[in-house]
């Protein structure tokens, strides 16, 4: 099915199941520990040996020699695979560095060997006996000093320009020119990357933890040099991804190599201290923002430049993206530059681009509003645009940013916000901050297979993944709505490369795109069912487990009396994304307390107001938003992969060193969804929401800290040491 004209009324609009805050259907499995994750598939395959990965001890250079003799002789060892043993391996389409390094080493903790043994304890001990000698090469590890040598990336429209930014900025009576930095950040999902690999002849089964099944199967095949059809990926439960599991990582490839070498199924989990340097991360940015306004506060010039680094062949953090669309202004420019760094591979993390981009832009806006003496909510409202500011003929499909801001201001008590450093509650200096949330709505082709079983149960199969996003539940809701059955009569099967190829989980496109694919398949199934029942499909109503046309009403399962009825289809997209800009919007409001003595920062209240199309399940969607707000709070207050610029690695590479928020950091959170449908997005009229919640929240925290203390910090994370010297002097 192709979606190329705006949606009209369709069965989803009945909203009998869709749009309801239903409990997740996978909840009972997850809360009782019965949901099996990748490393736990004892049920799927017996006799599994254990693999343990050895990582490079240098950031850049070569392996000069490896001595495996002691490791090979260690008790229980079945096989050791290094690049020398592995034969020719290709680099996956989605990888920047090789997943098995050697002799060339591209980054710290790049995998250099897998040791397979009978038990985990034996594999781990033997891995410690692998002796590797290296020759270090000089590497580049410091973005700030590599910045001037950064170049224009090949892809992705690195530069944009409308009007004459330089002249307009120079002429602007009020202007801001500031530079902000965001650090490298880790996904730190709770389930480490893990895989079980089993070969049957030349066919590979891989139980793994991966957000994008089809990409994954393709890259496993490419890396190992086996036909794509010989690889089966299964990933029904994923313990968090946030972009860190978009791509195949070392666990999958090394499990496959280890299993081949050992002649046994092999399981591999990356250890936590290994993950931060071995896998991907969100790259650090340096961002310069220049905004000029007239005296009334109307933006006349807006410019955003961003620098980030990556390994050779890698890509930039596209932190300027939102600045092309978020505010009006006739003269505009953005620029993205990429430096070569020999740090671990940078790549997507929740809301790549916008998350760090808005951390800078929305502080700049706060600073400028203050210069103008305009309330930051009003300043944003004043500079709203209902059209793509680079191409005014192209309207937004929906844009209710102002309503998000105003609703939030009202609910949050924004009018009580005082001047910086004026509000005291006991030992706390209290402040409020606001920021706009913005994230584009992407649509991706997505397929599904639906089957009416003889029992009357509707089975949905798609390689879509549920990484905690609620895919199981909203897909079940979609099928239930379309087929007129209760949720309990829908069986959803996900994350298997033998199922039709879905949108997968990334870029907050999953919910709308994957359910639209299920919608398409259900439209076909409705036709097939009506046909079997001898009813006119165009007239048929599917409700209460029955199919009705006029006075005729037949039980749904009657269509499957002689066997299951199956339909498969996909949703693909036409030009609506070109004629209309599809984005999601929100407003974050945050109140912080800053300890007057120690400058410790604690969040007291958080509110997000979101406008993101139809909300398919307000319960799970709200969770997506609050969760993203937590991650944004972490980015604002504590998260930083610290680069040792001499040695070239992330120093704080475990969960004690890389702090992410804990319970005590997060107060009760409020989320308001504006009632909205977007007929330009898909028949679901939904848009993504999983990343919107992280967009802007960090800036709202930083702005609240400024409001509390009068101290502006432009280097994230905003930690107490950056405030301390400038804090009000104590009596």
């Amino acid at each position: 099915m192709k979606f190329d004209t705006p949606a009209t009324t369709n069965p989803i609009d009945q909203l009998k199941v869709i749009g309801k805050p239903l409990d997740r259907i996978d909840g009972p499995l997850k809360t009782t520990g019965r949901a099996p994750y990748a490393y736990e598939r004892h049920d799927a395959i017996p006799d599994i040996a254990y693999g343990y990965v050895v990582g490079a001890a240098i950031a850049k250079g070569r392996i000069t020699s490896m001595d495996l003799s002691r490791a090979k002789a260690a008790p229980g060892v079945l096989a050791i695979v290094t690049a020398a043993e592995a034969g020719k391996l290709a680099k996956g389409d989605f990888n920047t560095a090789m997943l098995l390094g050697g002799p060339e080493i591209q980054h710290y903790h790049q995998a250099v060997a897998i040791v397979v043994a009978e038990t985990f304890e034996q594999a781990r001990a033997a891995a410690g006996l692998v002796k590797v000698d290296y020759e270090r090469a000089k590497g580049t590890f410091d973005l700030a000093s590599a910045k001037d040598g950064a170049t224009k990336p090949k892809d992705g429209g690195p530069d944009s320009a409308v009007g004459d930014f330089e002249a307009a900025f120079a002429a602007a009576p009020v202007k801001l020119d500031e530079t902000y930095t965001t650090p490298d950040q880790g996904h730190a999902m709770m389930e480490p990357h893990a895989s079980i690999a089993a070969w049957k002849g030349d066919k590979l089964s891989l139980w793994t933890s991966n957000q994008m099944i089809a990409w994954g199967a393709g890259d496993v095949a490419k890396t190992l040099g086996v036909p794509r059809e010989n690889v089966r990926l299964m990933s029904p439960f994923i313990g968090g991804g946030f972009g860190g599991k978009l791509f195949v990582r070392a666990d999958a490839i090394l499990a496959a190599l280890g299993a081949k070498a050992a002649g046994r199924p092999v399981k591999v989990a990356l250890t936590r201290p290994f993950m931060f340097n071995n896998t991907t991360h969100r790259p650090a940015t340096i961002q310069r923002i220049r905004i000029g306004t007239d005296r009334a506060g109307k933006i006349t010039a807006i410019g955003h430049e961003s620098w980030s680094g990556d390994l050779p062949g890698g890509g930039p953090e596209t932190a300027v993206q939102q600045t092309r669309l978020l505010y009006a202004g006739e003269n505009r420019m953005t620029k993205t530059r990429l430096a070569v760094l020999d740090l671990p591979e940078g790549n997507a993390m929740r809301a790549p681009g916008e998350a760090p981009g808005l951390m800078a832009l929305e502080v700049a806006v706060d600073e400028l509003a203050e210069k103008l003496g305009i309330d930051p909510v009003e300043f944003r409202v004043l500079n709203d645009t209902q059209v793509d500011p680079e191409k005014p003929s192209r309207p937004f499909s929906q844009r209710r940013l102002n309503e998000c801001l105003r609703t939030g201001a009202d609910k949050f008590g924004w009018s009580r916000r005082a001047k910086p450093g004026q509000v005291r509650d006991g030992r706390w200096l209290v402040g409020m901050g606001v920021a706009a949330a913005f994230r584009n709505n992407l649509v991706m082709k997505s397929a599904a297979r639906v089957r009416l079983e003889t029992s009357g149960v509707v089975t949905v199969e798609t390689d879509m993944t549920d990484i905690g996003t609620g895919s199981y539940t909203i897909i079940a809701q979609t099928a239930a709505e379309m087929m007129g059955v209760p949720l309990t009569r829908v069986n959803v099967r996900l994350g298997d490369s033998s199922f039709p190829v879905s949108a997968g989980s990334g870029g907050q496109w999953g919910a709308n795109s994957s359910t639209a694919g299920v919608y398409a398949a259900c439209v076909k199934l409705r036709e097939a069912v009506a046909g079997k029942l001898g009813l006119d499909a165009a007239q048929a109503q599917f409700a209460d487990g029955r199919v009705k046309v006029g006075n005729q009403s037949l039980p749904l399962e009657q269509a499957a009396a002689s066997g299951p009825v199956t339909a498969e289809d996909f949703m693909e997209y036409g030009d609506l994304t070109k004629t209309h800009q599809q984005s999601t919007f929100g407003a974050h409001f945050v109140e912080v307390g800053v300890d007057a003595d120690t400058a410790e920062i604690r969040i007291r209240r958080m509110l997000a107001v979101c406008a993101a199309g139809r909300i398919l399940n307000p319960k799970s969607a709200r969770s997506q938003v609050i969760g993203a707000m937590v991650m944004g709070a972490g980015a604002a207050l504590m998260e930083e992969l610290v680069v040792d610029k001499r040695i070239g690695f992330f120093v704080n590479h475990d969960l004690a060193g890389y702090e992410v928020p804990v319970h005590a950091d997060i107060p009760h959170q409020e989320v308001i969804f504006l009632d909205e449908t977007d007929p330009m997005s898909s028949p679901m009229k939904a848009k993504g929401v999983g990343e919107l919640g992280i967009c802007g929240v960090g800036a709202a925290v930083a702005n609240a800290i400024y409001n509390a203390t009068g101290v502006r910090v432009r280097e994230y994370p905003v930690t107490l040491d950056k405030l301390l010297e400038k804090m009000p002097v104590l009596a």
């Binding site: 997740r24 996978d26 909840g27 499995l29 809360t31 009782t32 520990g33 019965r34 099996p36 994750y37 490393y39 004892h42 050895v54 990582g55 001890a57 240098i58 002789a73 008790p75 250099v112 038990t119 304890e121 034996q122 001990a125 410690g128 006996l129 692998v130 590797v132 000698d133 290296y134 270090r136 730190a188 999902m189 709770m190 389930e191 480490p192 313990g239 968090g240 991804g241 989990a269 936590r272 201290p273 905690g468 609620g470 969040i603 969770s623 997506q624 609050i626 969760g627 937590v630 991650m631 001499r646 040695i647 475990d654 969960l655 004690a656 804990v662 319970h663 005590a664 107060p667 009760h668």
Partner: protein, 214 residues
Amino acid sequence: MAILEDLQLSRREVMATGAAVGVAAAPGAAGAAPVEPGPSLMKVSFTVNGQRQTLELDTRTTLLDALREHLKLTGSKKGCDHGQCGACTVIVDGRRINSCLSLAVMHEGDEVTTIEGLGSPEKLHPLQAAFVRHDGYQCGYCTPGQICSAKAVLDEIKAGVPSHVTADLNAKVQFSEDELRERMSGNICRCGAYSNIVAAVAEVAGGPILGKGA
């Protein structure tokens, strides 16, 4: 006050770094005995979810790996294996611990309760049901640890064990959401379901909810 400079690694130090790297991927190996001892096996018996279990284990096996890899009770999760996340939380003799930082052979005669022992999909424990109702999880990986921890937290408050946020050490410990947040802080949820988890646990705890925010 003298300032110790932020030195660049001197040439000598760079070489020292290189040399340490040179000896091994596991520098601890330097000077160790050349022959690797075989695993030391030991028998251990303990009760898991009411069932007596006897295992012969490599002494290195953690309680977590004994549960997951030997008893196939995979509800307890390995998130970090270093006591930094809480996903492995189980209840031993009535107390919550990180099962990743405990050797299985040290649990002779102990009573272990895991998430599987609290309830099943067909018969949820009240906390499990509350987590479902309040959407107190997303990816689900930290969830068993959160729930085991929550159960023990409620018992700890009842038993009068104070916490970092208890205002008066000499008064009876009062239940509050801030108490929950502090006590649950050893269980990291990267999906960020904290607000919902606290709501779920508070609902099961019943009683007055005191204290909000920082």
